[in-house]
Each structure stands twice: as structure tokens, then as C-alpha cells.
């Protein structure tokens, strides 16, 4: 579904991604793990098009998309719940969700809204409240819900568990699994590597802008190097 071929990306003159290769197949949950500053967020930003790729190719469903504008990628079915939630603070929860469907104002929107409310009932309760007055966990659900409103084929999730209480982390990860069951493909970035790899079909380890390891979620969880470097075991 998605193939990333030798993508490089930079902030100013500093290269952050050095020829990253990876692949996401339809129906998979793929985890991308790696320590602070490895370039995980930069990679997702490059996939969404809010950060330019310096070279390399991004192929989505057979089409090269690395030169497309972000909104064109949303139309093609890639949507992202970014690091740090990035909700529209002064706007209501419902407006945030409706804006998630900005490029998909179709008859299915109502159903998707209900679906997001079913996935995260607390959002339905707070639908009229400004997003900035939600708790961190609720904002995270809102960010994911907003990304779902675009009816994505590929969902990019950047650190959905960051700063959340363990119970909420479980709830979010359960939601991710439920999404996959509905046919949404997920690329999941996590610092919480053990949790991410546990629900992932496959995983990649990113280190200073390069993929240094890949394998099934279970294999990476058992790998001694991964265990010491990223799982703190």
C-alpha cells in the first residue's frame, strides 16, 4: 500500500532522514520505534507532505505522491494524528471532528461522526466544549477521531500514548486494533516501544534517521538489542 524509497529530509541544512526505506502493506499495523530525535515525527510529516522530502520516493497505492500537497494526500486516503495532538483549541470538539472531514464532505460523514463517538464516547459528551479545555487523553482521542473523519485508508499515528495514564494507553491501543479490524491500515509511531510492538504485525527501528532493524512485532520484542536499547529490559 505504502512504499517509502530512500526518503531524505532536512531542517535547513541538517539532514534528519538519511535514505529511509520502509513498506506498509494493506491491513497491517506497522510500528515505527526509535529513541528521541531519531526522526520518527519527521518521517510522518514527510509522508503527510507538511515537511518536504529532499529526495526519494513515496509510493501510495501505486502512485508517487512525494510531490503532492498535503491536502492532495488527504484526498488519496492518508491522514495523520500528529505528535502533541494539535487540536484546534478554540473550536468545539464537534467542529474539530467536522474539520477532519474537510476533504470528505459526503453523505458518510454523519455515520463517521457517530462512529468516532462510539469509539470514544467521552467525545460525544463533550461535543460542544472547546477542544482546549479537554484533558490530555481526551485531546488525544480527539486528534485520532479527527484523523478518522477523513475516512483514511492509511492512518498515521504519532505517539498517541504520550503522557497518558496507563489505563488510557490501553484504551487507545485497543482502539487502534479495532480500527485495523475495520480495514484501516496503521503506521504507529511510539516511544512506548513494547506496547506498540505488542499490537503490531511488523515493526521498524529508526536510529538517527536510518532504519536499522525490521521484523515482525514479536521478533523485535524478543530481539536482545531492541530489548536493551528501546525496551529498557
Amino acid at each position: 500500500m505504502l512504499t517509502v524509497e530512500a526518503i531524505t529530509s532536512a531542517y535547513g541544512r541538517i539532514n534528519v532522514l538519511h535514505e529511509v526505506w520502509l513498506e506498509v502493506k494493506a491491513g497491517e499495523i506497522v510500528a515505527l520505534v526509535g529513541s528521541n530525535g531519531a526522526g520518527k515525527t519527521t518521517l510522518l510529516r514527510t509522508l503527510s507532505g507538511v515537511q518536504p522530502a529532499r529526495s526519494g520516493r513515496i509510493v501510495f497505492e501505486g502512485e508517487a505522491i512525494e510531490r503532492l500537497e498535503p491536502h492532495q494526500r488527504v484526498v488519496r486516503g492518508i491522514s495523520q494524528s500528529p505528535e502533541g495532538r494539535q487540536v484546534f483549541g478554540p473550536l468545539s470538539v464537534e467542529d474539530n471532528l467536522r474539520l477532519g472531514a474537510y476533504r470528505r464532505q459526503d453523505a458518510g460523514m454523519r455515520a463517521r461522526l457517530d462512529h468516532v463517538f462510539a469509539l470514544f464516547p467521552v467525545l460525544a459528551e463533550k461535543r460542544r466544549i472547546a477542544a482546549m479545555s479537554l484533558s490530555g487523553g481526551q485531546q488525544q482521542m480527539l486528534a485520532i477521531g479527527r484523523a478518522l473523519m477523513a475516512a483514511p485508508k492509511l492512518l498515521l499515528l504519532d505517539e498517541p500514548s504520550l503522557g497518558l495514564a496507563p489505563l488510557l494507553v490501553d484504551q487507545i491501543l485497543a482502539a487502534v486494533r479495532a480500527l485495523r479490524a475495520e480495514g484501516i491500515t496503521v503506521l504507529l509511531v511510539e516511544q512506548n516501544a513494547s506496547a506498540a510492538l505488542a499490537i503490531a504485525d511488523r515493526g521498524y527501528v529508526l536510529e538517527t534517521g536510518r532504519v536499522v532493524m525490521e521484523g515482525t512485532g514479536a521478533a523485535l520484542l524478543d530481539d536482545p538489542k531492541v530489548r536493551t536499547a528501546y525496551l529498557g529490559l
Binding site: 503527510s48 507532505g49 507538511v50 500537497e69 498535503p70 491536502h71 488527504v74 484526498v75 491522514s79 495523520q80 500528529p82 494539535q86 487540536v87 484546534f88 483549541g89 478554540p90 473550536l91 467542529d95 467536522r98 474539520l99 477532519g100 474537510y102 476533504r103 464532505q105 482546549m132 479527527r146 484523523a147 477523513a150
Partner: protein, 290 residues
């Protein structure tokens, strides 16, 4: 008492014009962090183009309509030719660009129009309407009515249309706006077009009272900027209240102290806000941005 009321009427009338200019600043600032100092020139274009089109024989509504369309055209060109190519430049650079654009627009206006002061006949005559011992000019009602109408229209647009919501979303969080698929370049162009339309309409209704000339935009930009700062840059409610307050202060200053320093009020207000009230009366938008 009647003198007081008279000053209130005049103050609110000029204040309403400042409010519209401040709203123009607000729209563009919210969509882009750009403080558009060419905002006052839209007011000039609205007034001057209407004057010249009417002297060419067109009826007021037709002339005004064309003037607003022309102003929108200038606003879109300003965005396309001056702001968009400098995308990613620092806010200070962008502000310098708008100041340059403003000088350029004035230069062109001098050639297209002329260097004289011009006025328009009042839309509904000059017979003052007595109110509580003071009098109100019918043109003041046009100004106040237009301002009210535009504020309501803008509110409805922002709160009840998808494009309006997209503009608010872009103001709240540009990265997230791009991620949900909002074309922020288009939104910014829309903000420039809207601001130009609002400015031009302000120019059309204000010209019978304030007169107009190719360079009148500078003073209007200063007043509108002061109003936007006073209300809290980026806050639409603040822009309107700020505009009315500057108008009232200026008129009362002129009425009770001296009219020599009328234009200094806006300038002093900018300094006052910068030193004592950096977020304005209603709080600027910067608080929501980390």
C-alpha cells in the same frame, strides 16, 4: 449634554470605520501572522474608485460594487505577488513587504486617479436627524449600519460555513489545518480578498464624511492597527471594540482638548498598549499558540 452626545455620535461613526479596518487586520493576521499595512489602502481604493466611476457617469451602487471588486482584485494580487512568494519568511519581513506594497499602491493610485482630495455626496442627503438634543447625519447611519451588517455577515461566515471554520482552524493551528487537508494558501488568499472587500466598503461609506485621497490609507492603517492592538491582535470582538474606542477617544480629545493632536491619539494608544497591555483588552490570539 447635547455636546457630549454629539461627540459620541461622531466618535462612533469614525470608530466604526476604524473597526472595519481593524477587522481586516484581524482576518489576515489570524490566517497568516502577517500584519498587513496595506489594509488602509483598500479603504482608499474603495473610496477613490467609487468617486472616479461615479464621475464617469455610473450610479453609486454600481460604482461602489465595481470599486469593491477592484479592491478585492488588488488584495488577491497582493497575496499572490508579494506574500505568497515570500512564504516562510519571518513575520517582520512580511510586514516590510506589506509596507512596500502600500507605498507601491499609493504610487499607482496617484497615476490612475490623481493627487486631489475627493468626496462623495452623502447617500441619503445631508439633513441632520435630531436625537436627544444632538443631531445625527444620515451618512453616519450608513456607516454604522454597514459596519453592523459586515460584522454580522463575517460572524455568520466564520461560525456557520465550512470555509469560515477552515479559516478559524488555520488561525488556531496551521499544522493541523494542513494535516486535515485545508489548503492554507487558499485560505490566506481568501483572507486577503475578504479584508480588501471590507476595507473597500468602509471606504465607500466613509468617503462622504472623511474625504479621500491617494495617500489616505496610511492614516487609516495607523488607526485600524491601533484599534486591533487595543482590542488584542487577532481577536475580532476586540477589533470592533478597539475601533469604536479609538474613534471615541479621538473625537473626545478633539472636542474637549484640541483637534491639533487628533491623529496622535492612535499613536499614543499603540505605545500605551505595547507598554502596559501587550495582549490588548480582549487578549490576543498568541496565547493559544505555543
Amino acid at each position: 449634554m447635547s455636546e457630549f452626545l454629539q461627540l459620541v455620535f461622531s466618535g462612533l461613526t469614525v470608530g466604526a470605520i476604524y473597526a472595519l479596518i481593524a477587522l481586516g487586520f484581524t482576518l489576515i493576521y489570524n490566517a497568516s501572522d502577517v500584519i498587513n499595512f496595506a489594509q488602509g489602502d483598500f479603504v482608499m481604493i474603495g473610496g477613490m474608485a467609487t468617486v472616479f466611476l461615479m464621475s464617469a457617469g455610473l450610479a453609486l451602487p454600481v460604482a461602489a460594487f465595481i470599486a469593491v471588486v477592484a479592491s478585492v482584485g488588488v488584495g488577491l494580487l497582493l497575496h499572490r505577488l508579494a506574500i505568497e512568494p515570500a512564504r516562510g519568511a519571518s513575520p517582520v519581513t512580511l510586514i516590510m513587504i506589506t509596507i512596500g506594497a502600500s507605498i507601491f499602491i499609493k504610487g499607482v493610485a496617484q497615476i490612475v486617479f490623481d493627487k486631489q482630495f475627493h468626496s462623495l455626496p452623502a447617500f441619503s442627503g445631508d439633513t441632520p436627524i435630531p436625537v436627544g438634543g444632538a443631531t445625527l447625519l444620515p451618512q453616519s447611519l450608513w456607516v454604522l449600519g454597514t459596519t453592523l451588517g459586515l460584522v454580522v455577515a463575517l460572524y455568520l461566515f466564520l461560525e456557520h460555513t465550512l470555509s469560515g471554520k477552515a479559516l478559524l482552524a488555520t488561525a488556531a493551528n496551521r499544522l493541523a489545518a494542513r494535516l486535515v487537508g485545508i489548503n492554507v494558501t487558499l485560505i490566506l488568499a481568501m483572507a486577503f480578498g475578504l479584508s480588501a472587500a471590507i476595507g473597500a466598503l468602509a471606504g465607500v461609506v466613509a468617503t462622504p464624511i472623511t474625504l479621500t485621497r491617494y495617500d489616505i490609507g496610511t492614516l487609516f492603517a495607523l488607526k485600524g492597527f491601533a484599534a486591533a492592538m487595543l482590542g488584542g491582535m487577532g481577536n475580532p470582538v476586540g477589533a470592533v471594540v478597539g475601533g469604536l474606542l479609538i474613534g471615541l477617544l479621538e473625537t473626545f480629545g478633539a472636542g474637549y482638548v484640541s483637534s491639533t493632536y487628533k491623529d496622535a491619539v492612535a499613536f499614543l494608544m499603540i505605545l500605551f498598549v505595547l507598554f502596559f497591555l501587550p495582549r490588548g483588552l480582549f487578549g490576543g490570539r498568541s496565547v493559544e499558540r505555543v
